[in-house]
């Protein structure tokens, strides 16, 4: 256990109970997309605190830089220009791990202890246990984990679990100049969001709302959106994310079916042998000799 101060709710590929007796408060990061100015201070703070240095990219015609998440960029701002209500809107979303309550990465991971869900809701990768299979990439409904070309291990936002463990907020929260990123108990963050959403509705954003998708059991990174009914406007944010049915089948039903199938084959063989007994040709040799041509 890397952080003794955080109790563990779930541990990848671990069928038995994790240490979770303490009553840790569920935390959440609230990203108010409507207040974000796209300054990328959060990207810089993330890079500084976590000692990450993404390669200097090239301008691709929009502000996105780095263009995508990577092992060296655990959060990126995604910029999208849309026309809503007859007006141009510049929608800027800070993308990164959503810290799902039902994490697809953890469900898919085959390596014990490579993915940890703390009781406070943070989903953390413990790379020393990562085997580089990439199952987490398939499990994630948000396309967040990235496999490093340097060490073939998976990386993503840790919600600064090291800072949270000692009572500090994540680095991106601390640095945000407009207060668009806030951190606290999930309960409190929902309240903050509700106040802001009421405000937005008064200003004419009738569909303003909180993004805390139920399909993944809710998330510990939540967005306030002006158009909560059109999540994909925000650079492809899924409207109703859920763990893929393919992954659920693979990690769910297939296991008991496989166990039964393999056990049935093995047990059948064993009982067949001790009841019917071996099939010998030599015994019938003499008998065969007597038979006439059919």
């Amino acid at each position: 256990m890397a952080l003794q101060s955080l109790d563990i709710l779930r541990r990848s590929a671990t069928p038995t109970a994790t240490p979770q007796v303490r009553n840790t408060v569920e935390v959440a990061k609230l990203i108010d997309v409507t207040t974000c100015i796209g300054c990328k201070a959060c990207q810089v703070a993330c890079s500084e605190w976590n000692e990450l240095r993404a390669e200097v990219g090239t301008n691709i015609g929009v502000y996105d830089n780095p263009v995508d998440l990577s092992d060296q960029a655990w959060t990126v701002m995604r910029f999208n220009e849309v026309e809503e209500n007859g007006k141009l809107e510049w929608l800027i979303r800070k993308d990164g791990c959503m810290h799902c309550a039902d994490p697809g990465c953890l469900k898919a991971c085959p390596s014990p202890g490579a993915i940890i869900q703390y009781k406070n809701g943070i989903v953390d990768f413990h790379e020393e246990n990562c085997i580089g299979c990439g199952y987490c990439v398939s499990g994630c409904p948000f396309n967040v984990p990235r496999i490093s070309k340097q060490d073939n291990k998976a990386y993503k936002c840790s919600l600064c679990s090291d800072r949270v463990a000692v009572g500090q907020e994540p680095a991106c929260v601390k640095t945000c100049p407009t207060g668009a990123i806030q951190f606290g108990s999930k309960e409190d963050m929902k309240e903050v969001a509700a106040t802001r959403i009421t405000d937005l509705k008064k200003r004419g954003y009738d569909n303003a709302g909180l993004y805390d998708p139920a399909g993944v059991g809710g998330t510990h990174v939540m967005y306030v959106l002006h158009h909560a009914d059109k999540a994909p406007l925000y650079s492809g944010l899924p409207q109703d994310p859920a763990i893929s049915a393919t992954v659920s089948l693979w990690k769910g039903l297939l296991k008991p079916v496989a166990t039964l199938g393999i056990a049935a084959a093995g047990l059948f063989g064993f009982f067949h042998y001790i009841t019917v007994g071996p099939n010998r040709a030599d015994d019938e040799h003499a008998e065969d000799e007597k038979e006439t041509v059919k």
Binding site: P110, S111, P112, S138, A281, D282, E284
Partner: protein, 206 residues
């Protein structure tokens, strides 16, 4: 009286078979480790979990290529005919130790197993390539990788169950293992289990 023998598998055929068999065992052990959390320790068959993840696909390619050689050796012996259908319908009698039909080189069960193995091997190779990191997976869309992982696990499990039957059949029918170890079977074995093949091999009328 000296026992009368028939050559069933040549040395290259036997070597070929055992390459596939050894690869299969290593792959099944490490694969089950990735599939069942409680059996993760079986990754130790390749030293460490990371090594198992790295080596598993390479061994898989060796198994596929070796099996491919076997496929071209045997596919023409495995077309299912009327005698095989008769055998399959009367599999209950067979299980009690009886013989059904005028069986040639392979019986209906063996032929079915051949096609099951061939199908599984093809699916395992294709899905394995799609999921193979770090070399190929990054070139495929994530939804396809999800399907590949499900197909890989399902076909591997079908193959494992099939191989259990394959191994058991060889243990149950005495004199069979010898065919794949020493390469020979006795006349009695051939006459009982593969009468048509026996006649073809010996020129005897019965």
């Amino acid at each position: 009286m000296k026992e009368q023998l028939i050559q069933r598998y040549s040395a290259p055929e036997r070597i070929n078979h055992w390459i596939v068999a050894v690869c299969f065992i290593l792959l099944a052990i490490s694969g089950l480790a990735f599939f069942y959390p409680a059996f993760f320790w079986l990754t130790g068959v390749f030293g460490t979990p990371q090594l198992a993840r790295i080596i598993h696909p390479f061994v898989g390619v060796v198994m596929f290529l070796a099996f491919l050689r076997q496929f071209f050796r045997y596919y023409h012996h495995n077309f299912i005919d009327a005698e095989d259908v008769k055998w399959m319908k009367a599999v209950g009698t067979v299980m009690k130790g009886g013989e059904v039909g005028d069986t040639g080189r392979y019986n209906g069960g063996q032929k079915g197993m051949f096609w099951l193995m061939s199908g599984c091997m093809a699916l395992l190779l294709l899905s394995g390539i799609v999921a193979w990191r770090p070399y190929f997976a990054a070139s495929f869309p994530i939804p396809l990788i999800r399907v590949a992982l499900l197909v890989h696990a399902s076909s591997a499990l079908a193959l494992i169950a099939g191989i259990i039957v394959h191994v058991y059949a060889a243990l149950w029918v005495k004199g069979t293992i010898r065919a794949m170890v020493e390469g020979v079977v006795t006349h009695a074995w051939a006459r009982k289990h593969h009468p048509r093949w026996y006649r073809e091999m010996t020129g005897n009328k019965r």
